[in-house]
């Protein structure tokens, strides 16, 4: 029996050595150490041997089993490592092939993205977002905004007419009076939207977008206008920006100002390369919007809604979204916004 043990061990050792895969090795293990294999059977039968043979035979059988188990374990480790290597080699891909894209990314139009950013700034400053009709009564577009009857903007060369008393709004300002009719003071609103003027050249399209602002309360000052627009300018054009008010004229504000923001591309009109700044044309300031204190005559149209010019004051401003977007993103031509060329659209938003 001892001889048979040695024989078996030798045979099994050779088989383990010969195994070429973890699967083959497992078969070998079952063949020599499995439940029905000869060696474990011999171990189980040790009890049947004569007492003097039990000790040495049992010991030898156990040693043989342990030796084989260790050997299988070692061999299994070797084979598994080899197999992993082989699988990894087999799984190799040509990494220079193009990637497999996830679905393409769509973009918001630059005008939408810019409008939202501006909206968010003013919402943060406590303004609501109001809306109004684009096809508008002359009353709201001109009359109640204190436009003199001879004001050139009323002319058919400047403004689109649908009827004698109905126009395509030329600015978002008519929503000022509409909003005040609906809501007593205080009122803090901005009004984004499409507007229309009969103009078409390099710097004008007959349709464009504006954002109006209106704040009316018991104690609004021109300094508040400056502070509000400074916060806006810094949010959109950078934290170091300053704003400058220049007196101007608009029929529905008094005093009226144009607002410049310090150029974000240069210092005093000179770029880092020592060139005259192309964005502000060397002036160090960029005109971004018109504004002013609401004219008492405008309040006169909504006096019965709680807007007594002796008791409330307000500021209003209006800016072109296209202009803000062009300045900020270096878009050279207004018409690009309306061509809707995908190669343009995917650059923004």
């Amino acid at each position: 029996m001892i001889e048979r043990l040695a024989e078996l061990k030798q045979e099994a050792e050779a088989a383990i050595e010969a195994a070429t895969s973890t699967t083959g090795l497992e078969e070998t293990r079952i063949r020599y150490l499995g439940r029905k294999a000869e060696l474990p059977n011999m171990l189980r039968r040790v009890a049947e041997l004569p007492p003097e043979e039990r000790g040495p035979t049992g010991k030898a059988a156990n040693q043989a089993r342990q030796a084989l188990e260790t050997k299988i374990e070692l061999r299994a480790g070797e084979l598994a490592a080899k197999e992993l290597d082989a699988r990894l080699i087999h799984d190799r891909v040509d990494v220079t092939l193009p990637g497999d894209p996830l679905p393409a990314v769509g973009r918001l139009h630059l005008l939408t993205a810019t409008r939202r950013e501006i909206e968010d700034v003013f919402v943060g400053l406590g303004f609501d977002v109001a809306e109004g009709p684009e096809v508008e009564l002359v009353y709201y577009n001109f009359d109640s905004l204190n436009h003199d009857i001879t004001h050139p903007a009323r002319g058919r060369t400047d403004t689109f007419y649908v009827q004698d008393d109905v126009v395509l709004r030329t600015h978002t300002s008519p929503v000022q009076v509409r909003a005040m009719e609906l809501q007593p003071p205080p009122i803090y609103i901005i009004v984004p939207g499409r507007v229309y003027r009969r103009d078409s050249d390099l710097t004008h399209t007959p349709q464009f977008h504006q954002i109006e602002g209106l704040a009316v309360d018991t104690d609004i000052t021109l300094a508040d206008l400056k502070g509000t627009l400074l916060a806006f300018a810094r949010a959109i054009f950078g934290a170091e920006r300053e704003v400058r008010l220049r007196p101007h004229f608009f029929p529905f504000t008094e005093p009226s100002v144009e607002v410049d923001v310090s150029c974000f591309n240069c210092v005093d009109g000179i770029t880092a390369d020592g060139e005259r700044c192309p964005i502000c044309r060397g002036t160090a300031w960029l005109e971004i919007l018109g504004a002013g204190m609401v004219d008492p005559n405008v309040f006169g149209y909504v006096r019965e809604h709680g807007y007594d010019p002796e008791k409330v004051s307000g500021f209003a401003f209006g800016m072109g979204i296209e202009r803000i977007a062009m300045l900020r993103h270096g878009v050279p031509d207004l018409r690009l916004f309306y061509d809707n060329d995908i190669r343009f659209l995917e650059q923004f938003g």
Partner: protein, 814 residues
Amino acid sequence: MRVPLEWLHEYCAPPLSTRELADRLAMTGTEVERVERHGVGGLERFVVGRVLEAAPHPNADRLTVCRVDVGEDDPAQIVCGAPNVRGGQTVAVARPGAIMPDGTKLRAAKLRGLESQGMILAEDELAIGTEHDGIMVLADDGSAAAAEDLAPGAPLADVLPLATDVLVLEITPNRPDCLAIYGVAREAHAATGAPLAPPPWKDDPGTPGPVQEASVEVESPDLCPRFTARVFENVRIAPSPPWLKARLMAAGQRPISNVVDITNYVMLLTGQPLHAFDLDRVAGQRLVVRRARPGEPVETLDGQTRILDEEMLVIEDAEGPTSIAGVMGGARSEVAADTARVLMEAANWNGPNIQRTSLALGLRSEASSRFEKGIQPEQTMDAQAVATRLMIDLTGATLSPGTIDVGGTGPAPLTIRLRDARVNSVLGIAIPRERSAEILRALEFGVADAGDGLDITVPYFRRGDVTREADLVEEIARIAGVDKLPATLPSRHGAAGRLTTRQRLRRRAADALAAQGVHELVGWSFVAPDLADRLRLAPNDDRRQAVELENPMSGDQSELRTMLLGSLLDAVKYNHARGASTVRLFEAGPVYLTSGEPLPREPQHLGALLTGAVRPATWRDPDPRTADFFAAKGALTALLQTLRVSYEVEPATEPFLHPGRSAAALIDGERIGWLGEIHPLVTAAWDVDEIVAGFELDLDAVADAAVTAGVPMYHDVTSFPEVREDLAVIVPDETPAAEILAVVRRAAGPLLADAEVFDVYRDVERIGAGKLSLALRLTFRGRDRTLTDEEVAERRSKVAQALEAEVGGTIRGA
């Protein structure tokens, strides 16, 4: 408005550089469009010269070789082409190195073999006149030698206005008083504190009282508040002197002759247009201002005959109309070379009426545009005073006594209380009362102390724009410096800003499409009238009822869109033409629907079009599917799921859609839009020959549904497990999936949490012809218990029975 600084400085000369003055004006409300340089450069190279000798050029008939004393040791040799050059003349000379008005630099040159060390100048070469036929002769004989400033070598700039900076101003419509050199001088005075000279009309050489030689009658005083005229005799028509021509040139006016130049010069200086009549050509020496007769023809200076109406004013003499009042004079009584007697008119016309006439006739002039902007009646006499002085000095005329003056000055000056508290509360800083007073005095307002502020009297030239306290506050603000205000934020009283639910939903809708790879576009609101035809809309389709513009910029932009599809197709075409094979675009924006009310309805729509591959081709998937009906439906579903709006789709046709691949989208049974592949005839009309699929929704209706759905409430999905059952059913072909799912839902009852189709196939051999196999996944879940196998089996068998009974279905594997 062009303001030559040389001219401005006669009245106000701030000690500032041109740039500094421009900045100061800009910061006090006078916009400076640009600063120009008018005239020549290198001033030291322009000198007075005396022609010592002039001899014919040996090699050229028309050239003269001159020896010219230019104040140096040796005379300069200058070759001159002018026919009028003579020895003894004192002339203007440019030496080599001089910069001519067009920017070229003069060099010594050889002309037909002889060196010329400069140029004897004609006035047009200096841009101080238009004369080119001969050189300027500053003095003709030796007597001029006595005058020191005409000594040879003297700087020419001391004799002639050779160069000046010009401020090109953009005058806002509220400040017609600044359409005058003296008006700008007032602003410069107030803005800089530099002294202001008395107005040029301060000393009027004329007298009031009747005029013998002519008479004027105004029949329409409502449209002609004031008409003044003076008569000048012994007028000699001649060119104006160089200084006057130079100022006109720098201000952008062409010199013509002394009398006409005087009218233009005075207009530029005072703001008041004038008209000079040749009194001997005024029939009857009598002018009548009256409304035109309907259809009355008048021939204007430009040689055209204009047909007038009763709201237009004419000035007529005994032979009929000579001018359209305030707009344009007539040829018949124009000043000519032989004019000896001049009737100088300065009148005030009703601005809106002039604007109407000018618009109706399509005839604008410098005068009409000034009258439109508003001129005060007092300005007529300002202008008469200046013109009278110049007529006497420059034309040798004698003034006939008296002044025709019909009508009179404007309303009495207004006095307005300016409260200190108001100034401070509008601006947000305290302005001392003395500072306000100082500013308003500088602007020539009358200032008197009052209890809580100042009583301010408005000068006549600001009558149009200063009528209220707010207008005075503006004056303080702009001169005291709005640029010096602090930056504060409104104190606010309980207001808090937010987007409305609807606004947030609109943003999410756009984001949901962008997240699926669809780019947003912004289209024109304008459409062409033939769009409806190109979309094959029926004659009675409501979407043909577009808002029409009375004055479109072009025929193809004459209506407002009633749907977004047109802009979307335009953009697909545009990008296709530029080589894009895959185009996925959407627009969210308003459409304009006539409503029977004065204003149309303007609902927000959301539309999308998809064409080309649904995803980019890759080496793994070199041939991805092409966007079709289901791609569009997938995008629409994802969009509406994002907004948590449940919707249905039912087959429905649209004239612009593929009849077999078109549907209506419904929310709660209400139609909210269309979905489908664009009809090949429509895509062909946009030069696209591929499948284009898309949808367009009433975004307001979608937002309404989302708002109505309200706040999502919690459903327990974790306490009890769900059970999934797959079921394959064979049904007759063309049974809509929606119908099958409806049967399933009805039969399964409330325990069914979800049912969806996950596979569809046809196979004649395995399931037979005219049959369709649908694989359904049913998800069951109990709200309050774990479902037993028996419960689920029972539902499943109910579903199977219902499918058999209601749609003739056979359960596979059953």
